[in-house]
Symmetry: C2
Subunit: 737 residues, 2 copies
């Protein structure tokens, strides 16, 4: 690829960027698109834009950039959670590093390279390393501090009181619920409060789906014949947040009723034997921490305790998986991901072929005519490869999310974080290494002959691929940023839904930020920046523009578009840190290769201590800061417990625990939410409402009074059971109107 | 090397074995050697052999073999600890596997190989794998069960109540002891009992050494002028097992005394600020477990809690190391070991040269005359290489122990276990791989060209080295076993000490079993057995003899010679398990290579699922059983706590905790023990004597009554301090008689 190819690519991408950004600044002011561009704001802050026709709306403006830049870290934290702050910090950190690197390399190394002198100074990487090192410890400490604050924030986090127990041994006689009660009253007597059984989704889901179908048919029926007051038939689920006692009583209630109503339907009987997971609630945070960290019995596969994820973060359908299976699932998905990574080399090699015009002409002779046109060859070599790679890469994220789901994580955030790691490994291997190596080694079908030659091989290979990487920054970086800000998919979806299907606005659907694709993307660009900085410093200005643009765009998106339902609590930072260390060591190995090629043993000698120091620094961070990302310090939790006890808030928190985790609560389908059947019973008497953001669905349910019998609203449960039965019967009889 | 060389070697070694074993059976009956051959028995069981001159004493006999075989596992456990049982199990397991493998391979594969047919059945490795797998899970479960029993054994283990705290932050005003008190009374109020500061060895050791020197001079003085009643001047150390309160009072006592006696000597003032480690005692085992497993504060390098080792197992001089240093020490020793491993290749290559006679004659032409004699060449090629390797290998264990010490383990057993791992890696790399590869690949200075070729390379290389490995089994296995049973070094030491130096018998010195050299040795033979079983099955009978002989010899030694002062609690088993899995996978990879060479793709195809199954099996064991070797299950500890509380034994245990850990107690020098200065004060009033086996030294101290002031025997402390001062002054004035 020539410099003209590069310029073509740059031209197209800059044009696209300018176009998209201008379009965005206009489209965001249109009231019709408000749900696309301000989803988070509408869902969480309930403010609406004024609908007035003014000319201003059709003039591109830069106000949004100013707004995105003005937002402080505290505001970002409040609006989009800790993960957003971490992501923001990754961008800030990249900007800092590469500003300096660009300055040094463009004015230091580039002229040297250009004028063909063979002198390389070890000074430059070492200095940038120093700055990086100091900066990074600060960043790491800052994130760790934020994470601690996140734990100790004002509103009590109910998940701190909760432990997820899996691998409950099957008792022959007593029910699972009794077994849990027995175990924890014996071994955690002083701190155990109560527990909540997680049911197999299949079992209850079957009832719910049946009820949903029946409801749909019923609704269709009522829509045509009866008026809308019929909605009053919907109740809320009796399964949510009930304590262990209430479940037993429910069963007794069922048995009492067996004679009267036809509750013989086996699908209704929730078999306690089949429970695979239980949420156990403790009196204090510290007690829950202790229970979650300690090996409970002499069989490490039984009574497995883990810290519970936050209520909105629970991935319910995975909770039911037998704990014994999980390690096999993990190995299987690992193998699956590796095979996928290797298979993906095929399109990558094809792309490499594209950027080498001569090879392409040889292989596909019928293209010769087209390719001989000057403009076409520039387009093919300069732009097409990275577009094709981009299209293939779009399949990666969904597949990795699928792999991560199969792995069996217990929370949405863990699933996303696991997918993020997979996508990152994938990107580094298939975009970076496969491209670097296929240009030189793999394409010649000769393998690495010796580990000693790797630095030299890399040093030879990278300059050859530098122009490809620059176009990659342009397409995958700039252009995808501007399409991100445009929300092309959301815009079209909204348009089709509103004006073609004429459906109501989908108020519930506000997407979460796709950390699993964006973090690896930024990290890959960081890797490209580090490794190319010495050999092809021309990439740095392009990268710097990308990081600046990304800083503005992502802040804007986090503040306006995406909604934070769950949060890993900054767990993306260790991933970013490790990737930066990897990039740095790789860069230093490449430097070693360069100095080897230039036959400068002194400079090469200076590089080895640099590598050792980098690794030592990494080890220090692992020892000093990483444990904070894995567990919570006891001191902080004990202090919080005491503070709550002193202020008398503890009782209120214990009450709220009863309704903290609700299994059949946030199904994706709206009709299901409308027939939620409520039984927030247990021994508290007052259900204080859900603490998450779904107020809308709650309003549609009919609130009943709470007559409690033995601390349990038995009438309500009976009522709820009857209503399910009614709906199921409706479905069975095929009431199709 | 020809078959004649092999026979020479076998002849020499069998001769040595028979000679040594016969000598042993005679020597063990001589009363003069009773301390060499029955060290453990005398030290622990206090029984002596009758001294009567009968002819029977000079006739070789086999009674000891019968005795060694008759001993049950329970007796072994009682006499030599869990590690001995684990070691015994490793041998039993090896015998089982290799009996079967020998049967199959010698009668199955050997004739096939000999008659030159190319048919290999995948049946054999797969069957032996199956038997291995089932057997090994049983073994692993058995060891895990023994470990649990070991924890819950009848005599309460005081270390279960104790947590070692390191990384205590330096407070500006208050003393370290106060800081510990404050922290644990705030955050572990319900379970914290008291603590004990560990002092820098340098500080106190200086005083002790000074006192010791003074005592020596003093003793010399008294030996010539005064009678032996002067011994009454010796007191016991006031630093052992004192509670936190007693230390403060000691200091106050010192300040009160400052005017009267000249205690200005700065070396006497134990600066609390310098304490780096503290033993913290808890009310229950469970509380100690919780405290040791949980991250205490938001700085993971401060208030680091670890389960305390057993009192006799504490490696006091390492406790004082600053916790911040440890990770650097670990990395440094890792690098050191790797460098040593690589440097060791030089003698190994030299040895390989020896076994290839032609190369040797080329390199050292002056040896040509000698080497042309037939007998000499057989000796050089058949026997010399493994003897030289053996001599070099003798330097490895002490060096690895040194590395492990530098690493900073807190217990003797951990130090030995760490050394065991290092020696194992070293042996596998330098004896197995270096020998296999230097014969083919390294000597031709061509490196591994591709990972795909490794199985084939190994399959080619191993038959070439099989005869060397057989001679290695003969020298390093058979001969070293018989010299082990002879205790050549101990015998000579005892003889010199008794008859030449005319010193008293050293009653204290009874060695511990050298697990760090013996476990790797047995594992290496296992590896040789697995890898050679398909290609050179002739090695198996030799190995089988080794394992049988080892079974008898090691049981005899464990029962009679070595004393178990400390125990890892079966932690050698996971090491053995991992090594066996590694050997098995390596064998299967070699099979893959063999089938590749023989061009049998079906058989090779059958081997790959075998490898996967082996790895899955390993993963299962890691999940199911390994956690039990890392931490204790809460259930068992809680049950033990309750049992002790019910039976009222808890108070007694709490009393005993005061004297559990004594820092200046088991110094290697005997004179030091005689001037131990006692202050087992604190708030218990009655010091119930030490719980370990050192009764002799205790008798020499003068017991004082216990007049306690504020729960502290202040008169005694004053007395002790005065006596130290006296001794130090004695030394300073140079009282040389």
């Amino acid at each position: 690829m020539k410099i003209s190819g590069l310029l073509t690519s740059a031209g197209i991408n800059i044009g696209l960027c300018v176009l998209f950004l201008s379009l965005y600044s206009v489209l965001r002011k249109q009231p019709a698109n408000v749900r696309v561009y301000f989803g988070r704001r509408i869902a969480e802050e309930h403010n609406r834009l004024r609908e007035a026709f003014i000319l201003e709306r059709f003039v591109p403006s830069t106000g949004w950039i100013v707004k995105a830049l003005q937002c402080t870290e505290e505001e970002l934290l409040a609006a989009a959670g800790l993960d957003a702050v971490v992501f923001n910090r990754i961008l800030v950190f990249s900007i800092r590093i590469f500003s300096l690197a660009a300055l040094l390399c463009v004015f230091g190394i580039l002229p040297l390279n250009y004028f063909g002198q063979d002198i390389h100074h070890v000074r430059i990487p070492s200095e940038s390393l120093d700055i990086f090192t100091i900066g990074n410890v600060q960043e790491y400490k800052h994130i760790a501090r934020l994470r601690l604050h996140h734990h100790t924030r004002a509103t009590p986090n109910l998940s701190h009181f909760t432990v997820l127990v899996r691998g409950i041994p099957k008792a022959t006689k007593e029910s699972c619920s009794n077994a849990v009660d027995d175990f924890f009253t014996i071994y955690h007597a002083s701190s155990y409060l109560f527990h909540q059984v997680v049911y197999k989704v299949g079992k209850v889901q079957k009832i719910m789906t049946g009820a949903k179908k029946a409801y749909k048919k019923f609704k269709h029926f009522t829509d045509t014949t009866v008026d809308h007051s019929c909605r009053a038939i919907s109740y809320r689920c009796c399964l949510c947040g009930a304590s262990s006692n209430s479940f037993q009583l429910l069963r007794t209630g069922l048995e009492q009723n067996q004679g009267k109503s036809d509750l013989q339907d086996s699908s209704l009987k929730l078999d306690d034997q089949e429970c695979a997971a239980v949420f156990v609630y403790f009196r204090t945070r510290y007690a829950a921490l202790v229970a979650s960290e300690i090996l409970q019995t002499s069989n490490p596969m039984k009574w497995v305790t883990d810290p519970a994820p936050e209520p909105d973060d629970v991935y319910w359908s995975n909770l039911w998986l037998p704990y014994n299976q999980l390690w096999i699932r993990r190995i299987a998905t690992l193998l699956g991901s590796i095979i996928f990574m290797l298979l993906f080399l095929i399109p990558v090699t094809f792309i490499q072929g594209l950027s080498q015009l001569e090879q392409l002409q040889q292989r596909l002779p019928f293209l010769k005519g087209i390719l001989e046109k000057r403009y076409m060859s520039q387009l093919v070599t300069g732009y097409l490869p990275s577009v094709i790679l981009q299209i293939f890469l779009y399949t990666v994220a969904p597949l990795m999310i699928l792999f991560s789901t199969l792995e069996g994580p217990i929370s949405h955030s863990e699933r996303k974080r696991s997918a993020c790691c997979k996508v990152l490994y994938f990107t580094v291997w298939n975009v970076f290494f496969a491209n670097v190596l296929s240009g030189t080694v793999i394409s010649q079908l000769s393998v690495l002959s010796s580990p000693k030659d790797i630095p030299v091989q890399l040093a030879k290979a990278i300059p050859g691929q530098a122009t490809f990487f620059i176009t990659y920054v342009l397409t995958s970086g700039w252009a995808s940023l501007s399409s991100e800000v445009m929300q092309l998919f959301g815009l079209i979806y909204n348009f089709v839904r509103k004006y073609i299907l004429r459906m109501e606005e989908d108020t519930e659907f506000v997407p979460s930020f796709p950390y699993h694709t964006e973090v690896p993307k930024v990290m890959l660009f960081g890797l490209l920046g580090f490794t190319c900085s010495v050999l092809a410093p021309l990439i740095l200005p392009f990268l710097l523009v990308y990081f600046f643009l990304g800083y503005v765009v992502y802040r804007n998106q986090l503040l306006n578009v995406y909604r934070t339902r769950y949060d890993t609590g900054g767990l993306y930072w260790p991933i970013a840190h490790n990737t930066v260390i990897f990039s740095l060591v790789l860069t230093q190995i490449i430097c070693l290769g360069v100095f080897g090629l230039k036959e400068s043993p002194v400079a090469a000698g200076f590089t080895i201590p640099l590598i050792i120091l980098t690794l030592l620094f990494n080890q220090y961070c692992r020892n000093r800061l990483l444990p904070l990302f894995k567990t919570s310090p006891a001191q902080d939790l004990i202090d919080m417990d005491r503070e709550d006890e002193r202020s008398g808030r503890m009782d209120e928190i214990h009450h709220r625990l009863h309704s903290a985790y609700c299994q059949f609560h946030d199904s994706e389908d709206i009709p299901l939410e409308k027939i939620q059947i409520v039984g927030r019973g247990g021994d508290q008497g007052s259900s204080s409402g859900k603490s998450n953001g779904k107020e809308t669905s709650e309003e549609s349910g009919v609130e009943l009074s709470h007559p409690t019998l033995n601390g349990l609203p038995i009438s309500r449960l009976r009522h709820a059971v009857k209503s399910i039965t009614f709906l199921v019967r409706l479905q069975k009889r095929g009431l199709s109107g």
